[in-house]
């Protein structure tokens, strides 16, 4: 039964997605948002996600320790690749989060992808392929979660990437969407070069790609460090960590529910999950953990500061995602995978809530720019309260979920810094801890700014008549507000805490997620400081953007330290220039040699032919000269022999 459920978890959405792809992409009645194909697509999408959620919840009750099963997939010259699942408490909890967010997004999309109040023309939303791609994406993410084999994990990993590509490019009215989609796929793919090589190193060493075999194998220190560092490249790409984070803000060109599902709650968490899955290997490679710690600290602050200066509400949330995932990788770096996973779960809830609520706002006012919002609190009370909960959780206001999980991360980093706890060097602990504390203040600042700019003050959109959303949009938001507010309290429930143990068997240390100690006060004070500064700045002039206090740094933060330009100058332009050079070289050099030898042969033949075309006197002279030469030769040879 457990095996059946484990297979059904990715299997059901997979089947729903494949069936959905067979529906006509642009059916009759698509423009009005009605029609049998659209209804079938909705039914398939919602049913796939709902059944996956049922399976995940059922597994929650059945699985407490690690269980797994596998059959051979293929054997490539003595390298065994298996097709199997591997479940433990962590996997099941993450699966529940993924399936729940996927279901919320499927339901929400029904209302979001139909004619909105501000669409001046009827738009064909191509709903069937959209819903099918979400289903395929869900299946891929769940494959990553339950997979018991690194190659199978890679399958889910990359299929997720391609679904993300398709969904970012979905909105055909946005001219920047295709470029953003290509960027998202390519940047993560560059990271995946490392991921593949890391998996290859691990698999070749162990003679098998099965995770259990890989974890049990005894690698040399060099191999292990190299493999872990290579894996981190893939993790950085997928989880948007510096320096491969550049794709995530651009990915906001995708429809808002997609941002909620892929670019906030699930796919970007896959990197964190993969590291947690293989954590026993990382724990033996302190060098890799140190690199991860530096990456985390840089990403955490980079994302937080970039979020302070954005005007696009989705980009604020996107940068906050980058920053929050920095907290998770920071927790991994200081050897606290349980804290990382706890933050992953609360983040999935509150970030999905924030994106869906932001989608409601965008839907109501017809723009994503906060400079054209303001004063929406009275018109949209439900959305306001949900957003308040989400932002409170993001900033870490007690007793909302983010408070407890962020505290867990900071406490682990503090322990690593002060007591040298965990496998990483102490300086990594210091780095993560200090960056995390600074991040708390900055996060509170930009969360407060977002709230004030959107819901308070006077309205800056006189023409629109904003209102709370219809039920199909409202309920997913309301239901997500519950875990965003309360999930943190699960840290007091022993059954929950036990399930976050990594590794999941008896060798894993007991986890303590809540630290009711005096040092809880420090992040709380920083939170008050950040929020207070933002509020004070707003009080002076409610119509002006608090970001003006950033002064000359504002454009730099708004463009995220110009790292996009760096990437363009260091990678994109050289690559395209090299491509042009190689093409010219190939056509003129390599092929020119071939064509040239052909032409030379023809010309040589022509020359010889011309030599043979001669008038009679010269021909006769030639014949006689030849005869003379031959005679001479014969005579000479005859003499010498």
């Amino acid at each position: 039964m457990t095996g059946l459920l484990a297979v059904a978890l990715p299997g059901v959405p997979l089947v729903a997605g494949l069936l959905g792809l067979l529906l006509p992409p642009s059916p009759r009645g698509a423009a009005t948002g009605e029609g049998p194909a659209r209804r079938a697509a909705i039914a398939l999408g919602v049913a796939g996600a709902a059944l996956a959620l049922v399976a995940a919840v059922a597994l929650l009750f059945r699985v407490d320790g690690p269980v797994e099963a596998a059959t051979e997939w293929v054997d490539l010259g003595g390298l065994r690749i298996t097709l199997g699942w591997r479940l433990d408490g962590v996997a099941v909890l993450v699966a529940v989060a993924v399936a729940a967010v996927a279901l919320a997004v499927q339901v929400y999309s029904i209302g979001y992808l139909r004619r909105g109040p501000h669409d001046d023309v009827e738009v064909d939303h191509r709903y069937p392929p959209y819903a099918a791609q979400i289903s395929l994406f869900t299946a891929a993410m769940l494959t990553v979660v339950v997979s018991g084999d690194l190659i199978l994990l890679l399958v889910g990993w990359e299929v997720m990437g391609i679904c993300s590509y398709l969904l970012i490019a979905h909105d055909r009215r946005l001219p920047e969407a295709p470029a953003a989609a290509v960027k998202a796929f390519l940047v993560t793919r560059v990271g995946d070069v490392g991921f593949l090589l890391g998996i290859a190193l691990l698999g070749v060493g162990a003679g098998s790609f099965r995770i259990a075999d890989v974890l049990a194998h005894d690698y040399s220190a060099g191999t292990l460090t190299a493999a872990c560092l290579l894996l981190l490249a893939g993790v950085a790409g997928k989880s948007a960590q510096f320096p491969l984070h550049t794709w995530l803000p651009d990915a906001m060109a995708g429809p808002t529910p997609i941002s909620a599902l892929i670019h906030a709650a699930t796919m970007v968490a896959a990197g964190v999950y993969a590291v947690a899955r293989l954590f026993p290997l990382f724990a033996q490679a302190p060098a890799a953990l140190a690199v991860l710690g530096v990456m985390a600290a840089v990403t955490l602050l980079l994302g937080a500061f970039a979020a302070t200066a954005q005007d696009d509400i989705k980009r604020v949330l996107a940068w906050s995602t980058v920053s929050q995932i920095g907290y998770m990788t920071g927790a991994l770096a200081v050897g606290a995978p349980a804290a990382a996973l706890f933050h992953l779960l609360t983040h999935a809830a509150f970030k999905a809530l924030l994106f869906l609520a932001a989608g409601v706002v965008i839907h109501a006012v017809g723009t994503t720019l906060m400079s054209r919002m303001g004063g929406l609190r009275a018109a949209m009370p439900v959305t306001f309260w949900c957003m308040l909960i989400g932002l409170g959780a993001l900033a870490g206001v007690p007793p909302l979920s983010g408070f407890w999980s962020k505290d867990g991360v900071l406490a682990a980093a503090q322990a690593a810094a002060l007591d040298g706890a965990g496998p990483a060097p102490a300086w990594v602990g210091w780095l993560v801890w200090l960056a995390g504390l600074l991040g708390v203040a900055v996060t509170a600042w930009y969360a407060t700014r977002l709230l004030l700019r959107t819901f308070f003050g006077t309205t800056r959109v006189p023409l629109a008549h904003p209102h709370d959303p219809p039920a199909v949009l409202r309920w997913p938001v309301l239901l997500l507000a519950v875990p965003a507010a309360l999930l943190g309290l699960a840290a007091f429930a022993p059954w929950f805490v036990d399930r976050l143990r990594v590794p999941a068997d008896a060798s894993g240390e007991a986890v303590e997620l809540v630290h009711l100690a005096p040092n809880l006060v420090l992040p709380f004070l920083l939170l008050l400081l950040g929020a207070g500064i933002a509020w004070a700045g707003w009080r002076r002039d409610p119509a002006a953007d608090p970001a003006r206090f950033l002064g000359p740094l504002r454009p730099l933060f708004a463009r995220a330290f110009r790292l996009d330009d760096v990437q363009h100058a260091l990678v994109v332009r050289p690559a395209t220039a090299l491509a042009r050079v190689v093409r010219t070289g190939d056509e003129l050099g390599v092929d020119g040699l071939v064509e040239g030898s052909g032409r030379a042969a023809v010309e040589l033949g022509g020359g010889l032919a011309a030599l043979h075309r001669a008038a009679l006197p010269r021909a006769a002279a030639g014949v006689l000269a030849g005869a003379l030469l031959i005679g001479l030769a014969v005579a000479l040879i005859g003499v010498t022999s």
Binding site: P178, L186, R189, L197, T576
Partner: protein, 502 residues
């Protein structure tokens, strides 16, 4: 004569007779129908070949080539030529792929004959003759017979390109014929170096070195590898391919990319590596470096390419680079990756050329600058192009993944500075593949429809769907169940690796 032997002969005789019948039957459509029926019969005959004696129950070391079925009769006794055919786990998937693609191409021709050329039945007849040559190459277990079949392919393919191709077809066809003929000369010399030194042309006896001296093996491997490198093609001997592909009619491109190139890689595995293993070991680093160069150069050229069919043609250079890298590692993992890479490339690039042909036929241009917004006017065609491109960039779960990823894994497994570097570079080449295919998709499918694309009808013809569906399904099936190709190959590959590393 056993059933298996009957099938072996039938696999060659049916398309040969079909070609004659297609050309002889009065009426163009009737000729095409007869030819298609012959192609279908051939495919049916290749499938039961898999039933046979797969195990090795004898005493002593396992022979390097152990055919499931074989036919061995004396052909020209005076020259000691034998008509020796056989099929095993290395050749069978390629045989089936050849029969399938030929059938799809014949069926496609039933629906549409490329304009500007001769009659459709002649085209079908030529396709069948090409099929005889390719199947014979895959089945031959006699070196001289192998060479003969290898040559049979050349002229009908020349005629297909020159007869039904694009505007610059004569030059492209001439280049194709002359360049590959140059390779054939090397093959002929290589074959006779081997036959003269060993005193036999029997591949079963020859595999494993058969007592050839070191020097002979080096010479033989160099000659044979060069000959197959032209056909595969291996950079820098590839420049006939883009021209031939760009000018060839759709069905010609499909056969060319789908199976004709595989004669080169198959020959490399079965003949060059098998007959001169010591030479292979000696030349493996060079082969590996060239293969990785092909991956990178192919990818970079594609990134700067602005013609649809030319881009796909150059992508073949990169993909075959992965196959050759797998072969160059001379490990069981690498050879199996090469075999499945061969099949995957045949399926996926065949599909890509079908789709590129369909787009060019509709929009009357292949220039990427003039194509845009395909998903607005023809969403199904754009979706299929997207699928094929995604399969071609080696997405895990689709056919292309196994060959490319495990060529890299095999290079990692080989270890050492050189092979590790090659693995890293090849993996980077994989990212490059994604870059140029996504650039292709962005140009062709996204954005606002260009004037060339705007008048396109959204529908697809039933014949098109029938021709493409098997390839789509195979790309998915081989990706999900690589054992379809590899389960029969592990025995022969292990045996081959056994003699190579002996």
């Amino acid at each position: 004569m056993t059933f298996g032997q009957f099938l072996l002969v039938a696999v060659l005789a049916v398309p040969a007779l079909g070609a004659v019948a297609a050309a002889a039957v009065p009426g163009d459509r009737a000729g095409r129908l007869v030819g298609t029926a012959a192609a279908a019969l051939t495919l049916l005959a290749t499938l039961p070949l898999v039933g046979g004696d797969h195990g090795w129950f004898g005493y002593g070391p396992r022979p390097a080539v152990q055919a499931w079925h074989q036919v061995d009769v004396s052909w020209v006794p005076g020259l000691d030529l034998r008509f020796h055919l056989g099929v095993d786990g290395i050749s069978w998937p390629l045989v089936v792929l050849t029969a399938l693609l030929t059938l799809l191409c014949c069926g496609y021709t039933l629906w549409r004959v490329p304009s500007g050329g001769g009659s459709g039945r002649v085209l079908v007849a030529l396709l069948l003759v090409v099929e005889v040559g390719i199947l014979g190459t895959f089945l031959a277990l006699d070196l001289v017979l192998f060479f003969l079949f290898f040559e049979v392919v050349l002229l009908p393919m020349y005629a297909i390109i020159a007869g039904w191709g694009g505007e610059d077809r004569r030059r492209a066809a001439r280049k194709f014929a002359l360049y590959t003929l140059f390779g054939s000369v090397l093959l002929l010399v290589g074959v006779y170096v081997v036959v003269a030194a060993a005193g036999t042309a029997d591949l079963v006896t020859l595999t494993g070195g058969a007592g050839l001296s070191r020097g002979t093996q080096f010479a033989a491997f160099t000659l044979l590898a060069l000959a197959f490198a032209v056909k595969s093609p291996l950079w820098p001997l590839h420049s006939w391919l883009p021209d031939a592909h760009t000018q060839a009619p759709t069905v010609g491109s499909v056969i060319l990319a789908g199976v004709l190139l595989k004669m080169g890689t198959y020959g490399l595995i079965r003949v060059a590596v098998g007959v001169a293993p010591e030479g292979a070991r000696w030349a493996a680093p060079v082969l590996g470096v060239l293969a990785v160069a092909a991956i990178l150069v192919g990818g970079l050229v594609c990134l700067a390419q602005d013609e649809l069919k030319r881009l796909i043609a150059y992508s073949s250079v990169g993909h075959m680079g992965f196959v050759l890298l797998g072969v160059a590692t001379l490990t069981a993992t690498g050879l199996q990756a090469a075999l499945i890479g061969n099949i995957a490339h045949g399926v996926i690039t065949g599909l890509l050329f079908f789709l590129a042909g369909a787009i060019k036929d509709r929009a009357h241009t292949g220039s990427l600058a003039e194509l845009s917004g395909l998903r607005e006017t023809a969403p199904r065609l754009a979706g299929l192009l997207g699928f094929a491109a995604v399969a071609s960039l080696g997405l895990p779960g689709l056919a292309g993944f196994w060959g490319e990823a495990f060529a890299v894994v095999a290079a990692v497994r080989r270890g050492g500075g050189l092979w590790t570097t090659l693995a890293v570079l090849a993996a980077l080449g994989g990212a490059l593949t994604a870059a140029y295919l996504l650039r292709l998709l962005r140009r062709v499918t996204h954005g606002r429809p260009s004037p060339a694309v705007a008048p396109l009808a959204p529908g697809l013809a039933a014949a098109e769907l029938t021709a493409w569906a098997p390839l789509v399904l195979l790309a998915l099936a081989v990706g999900l169940a690589p054992a379809l190709v590899l389960s029969y190959a592990s025995g022969p590959v292990d045996a081959l690796v056994g003699v190579v590393t002996r």
